[in-house]
C-alpha cells in the first residue's frame, strides 16, 4: 500500500512539472466547446438592440399607432424607439448612432384614410445589416397592414376621425362603431380562421427535463472531451517511462507491476477529476445548474477518467512505438468524440447516429452524465451503468498490468 501511494505521489509530482500541457488539455476543450455552443445556440448573451429614430410630423392617431408598433412584442426586444426632431434625427443617422431614421410626413393619417398616396422617408445605417433590414421589413408590413385595415374598416375609422374632430363622441356612437367593427370581423372570420397552416408543437425529449437551458446539454460533451485529452496525454507516460528505463528498473524490483498501474491510474484520476471539476463547475455556474448535482456528476467523471486512462494506456502499450501509439489514439479518438456527443450533444444528433454514439465508450459516459446533470435530483444514473463503467475501468487496469508484465516493461 505504501508503494501505491509512493507511485501516485511520484507521478503527480512529475506531471506538475508539465503544468503547461495540463492547462492546454483543459483550455482546448473549453475553447472548442465554447465556439460550438455559440455557433449552434447563438449564445445566451444579451441580444443586440437597435435604435430607431422617428420624426412624427403628423402626430395623429395613426402616426402614433405606427410609431408605437416598433416597440411592441418581439420588436420591443430588438428596437428602442426614440422620437426626435428633423435636425437631430438627420444628424444622428449621419453619425451612425442609430439603425434607422423614419420620417412620418404631415398628412399621413389623412392620406391613408382617403386612400391617397403618401411617402414615408426611411434612412438606414449602412454599417449595420440585420437591424436596418428588420426595420425596413416591419415598415413595409405596417404600411400593408394599414392599407388592408383601411379597406376593411375605412368607414368606421373615418367616422371616428370626423366625430372626434367635431367632439361628438358619446356612448351611442361608441356602441354603434363597436357593433359595426364586430360585424365586419365576423364576416371576415371564415377567411381568417382557422389558419391554413397547422402548427404542431413537438414534445421535448423526456430526458431533457423541464426548464433546462439547451446549452446545458453541451457541458457533458465538453467534460468528456477534456477527460479524453487529459487521459490520452497522461497515458503516454507508460511509453515515457519505458523510454527512460524506469519501467524496466521497476520490473526488476520486488513490487508487482499492478502496483505501478494502480499508482499511475490513481495519479491520473486525481488530475482528471480536478480537470473535470473545473469544466463542470464553470458549466454549472454559467448555466445555473444546481450544485447539488455536482458530487454525483463528479463521481461519474472520476470513474470515467479511470476507465479512459486505463484503456488508453493499454492501447498505447500495444503499439510498436511512442509515435505509433500517439498516432493511433489520436486518429481513433477524433471520430469517437464526433459521434460520442463531445462536439454536438447526442440530443441533437439524428436518431440512428445518437444511438450509435451512445454505444461508444465515451458516448455512454456522455449520455449518463447528461442524464445526471439534467435530472430532477442527484444520483440519477442507474446502478447497472455504474457497474458497467466500474468493470470497464477494472478490465482496463488488469489489461495494462498484463501488458506491462508481458514484455512492455522490460523493453
Amino acid at each position: 500500500m505504501a508503494f501505491f501511494f509512493s507511485a501516485m505521489k511520484k507521478d503527480l509530482a512529475r506531471w506538475r512539472q508539465d503544468a503547461l500541457s495540463l492547462l492546454l488539455w483543459l483550455a482546448i476543450p473549453l475553447l472548442i466547446g465554447g465556439l460550438i455552443m455559440s455557433f449552434t445556440s447563438g449564445g445566451d448573451g444579451p441580444k443586440p438592440r437597435g435604435l430607431l429614430l422617428i420624426d412624427d410630423r403628423d402626430d395623429t392617431f395613426l402616426s402614433r399607432f405606427m410609431a408605437g408598433a416598433y416597440s411592441q412584442g418581439v420588436l420591443g426586444e430588438l428596437l428602442t424607439v426614440e422620437n426626435v426632431e428633423a435636425e437631430e434625427g438627420a444628424m444622428r443617422i449621419e453619425a451612425g448612432e442609430a439603425s434607422g431614421y423614419l420620417v412620418i410626413p404631415e398628412g399621413f393619417q389623412d392620406a391613408l384614410l382617403d386612400n391617397r398616396p403618401v411617402t414615408l422617408e426611411l434612412k438606414t445605417n449602412p454599417s449595420q445589416t440585420i437591424l436596418p433590414g428588420i426595420i425596413t421589413d416591419v415598415t413595409e408590413v405596417l404600411l400593408d397592414a394599414g392599407f388592408y385595415a383601411e379597406q376593411l374598416l375605412g368607414d368606421e375609422i373615418r367616422k371616428i376621425r370626423e366625430t372626434g374632430e367635431n367632439n361628438l363622441v358619446n356612448d351611442a356612437f361608441v356602441a354603434s362603431i363597436s357593433v359595426s367593427i364586430q360585424n365586419k370581423i365576423e364576416s371576415a372570420a371564415p377567411l381568417l380562421f382557422p389558419p391554413v397552416i397547422e402548427v404542431t408543437v413537438a414534445e421535448p425529449p423526456a430526458e431533457e427535463g423541464p426548464g433546462v437551458p439547451f446549452a446545458v446539454y453541451f457541458i457533458p460533451g465538453i467534460v468528456l472531451m477534456t477527460l479524453i485529452f487529459v487521459a490520452n496525454g497522461l497515458a503516454v507516460d507508460y511509453w515515457k517511462e519505458r523510454e527512460q528505463g524506469t519501467l524496466r528498473r521497476l520490473a526488476s524490483s520486488p513490487k508487482h507491476l499492478i502496483g505501478v498501474v494502480a499508482g499511475k491510474t490513481a495519479a491520473a484520476t486525481v488530475v482528471l477529476t480536478v480537470m473535470g471539476f473545473i469544466v463542470l463547475a464553470l458549466g454549472f455556474l454559467y448555466q445555473g445548474v444546481p450544485l447539488s448535482r455536482m458530487p454525483s456528476a463528479l463521481a461519474w467523471i472520476a470513474l470515467s477518467g479511470i476507465a479512459m486512462f486505463a484503456w488508453l494506456g493499454f492501447i498505447q502499450m500495444l503499439m510498436s512505438s511512442l509515435s505509433a501509439a500517439e498516432l493511433i489514439t489520436n486518429i481513433t479518438l477524433m471520430p469517437l468524440m464526433m459521434i460520442g456527443g463531445s462536439f454536438f450533444p447526442l440530443a441533437i444528433l439524428p436518431g440512428w447516429l445518437a444511438e450509435v454514439g451512445r454505444r461508444t465508450p465515451n458516448g455512454f459516459m456522455v449520455d449518463r452524465l447528461t442524464s445526471e446533470i439534467v435530472a430532477q435530483g442527484s444520483w440519477a444514473i442507474d446502478p447497472v451503468s455504474w457497474l458497467i463503467l466500474a468493470l470497464l475501468a477494472l478490465s482496463g487496469m488488469v489489461l495494462s498490468a498484463w501488458r506491462l508484465r508481458a514484455g512492455f516493461a522490460r523493453g
Binding site: 528505463g245 524496466r248 528498473r249 526488476s252 522490460r410
Partner: protein
Amino acid sequence: MSSVMISVHGLSRHFGDLVAVDDVSFEAQAGAIFGLLGPNGAGKSTTINCISGLLKPTSGRIAVAGHDVRRDATAAKQSLGVVPQELAIYEDLPAIENLRFWGRAYGLSGAELDARVDDVLGTIGLGDRARELPKKFSGGMKRRLNFGCGIVHAPPVMLLDEPTVGVDPQSRERLFDLVRAERDRGTCVLYTTHYMEEAEKLCDSLAIIDHGKMVAAGSMDELRAQLGARDVLQLNGEFPGAAADRAVSALAERIGEGLEVISSSESELTLTLNGASQMLPAIFEALASAGAVVNETSLRSPNLETLFLLLTGKELRE
C-alpha cells in the same frame, strides 16, 4: 567472507533459433567484484536480465542470496540492486525524491528510508543538489544518481550492466570508487563490461563470455596463470597461403614448442610465444625467407585481451 551470493548453473536462454546464452555457470561471492567480460552481443546483458528476473531462462538454475529467482522471485529481487546500462531515473523528479521512490520500491519507509537516503546522497556526492531536478545535472551526476538508486536499499547483491558506457574518464573513476566502496561494505557485485582495462582494474574474479558461451573463468591470478609469460605477436602484411605455411614451419623449427599460431590469413598472422621481443629478428628472417612481407608489427604483454584472443582467436573489441 566466501559465501556465495550469486549462483548460476547451466543457464541457457534462447530467442527462437538464436542461442543468446549457452550453458553458462559461475558463482560470485560476497565482498567481491565478479566481472562478466565479453564483446558486445556476447550474452552478458541476457545473463544479467535472467538474474534480475526480467527474462525467464530457457534452462538452468539461478539463485540470488540463496533465493531461487523463479520460485522465490520476490525475495531474490529484494536482495538485488540493479544499475542498468542506460540511465533509469526520473529526470523530472528531484534527486532526493528519486532515491525515496526507489527506496520505497524495495520496501523501505519511515526513519530507515530517511537515513538511507541521506547516507546515499552523501556517498554519491549529491547532498547539496538533493532538491534539484536531475535534468539540470551533468552526465556524471546523473550516473551517480542512477547508481545511488540501485544501492538505496543496501542490497547484498548488485548487478551493474556496463555502467561506464559513454561516461567521461573522471566520472568513470568516481563510479569505480563507488563500486569498490560497495564491495568493501560486503556487497557481492556482478559487473559486466566489454572494457578489458576496467575488468582488470576492478574485478576480483571474472568470467569471459563469447557467443553465449563461457570461455574462461576464475580469479584474476588464475586467469593470468593460464597465459603464463607468453606474449602475443601480431603481424600485418602479405602472407600468401603457401608462404605463410612455410614461414610458420620455419619458425616452429627455429623456436620450438613455445610457439602457437592463434590465427592466420593472407594479410595477418597472430602468434603467441615466450619472450617474443628477443625472438623478433629470427622471426622476421624466417618470414622473409619464406616469401612473406611484414608491414606492421604489434607486440603485447600478457593480459585479459591476449587471453581472450588466445581463447577465441579474435579481438575483444571486434
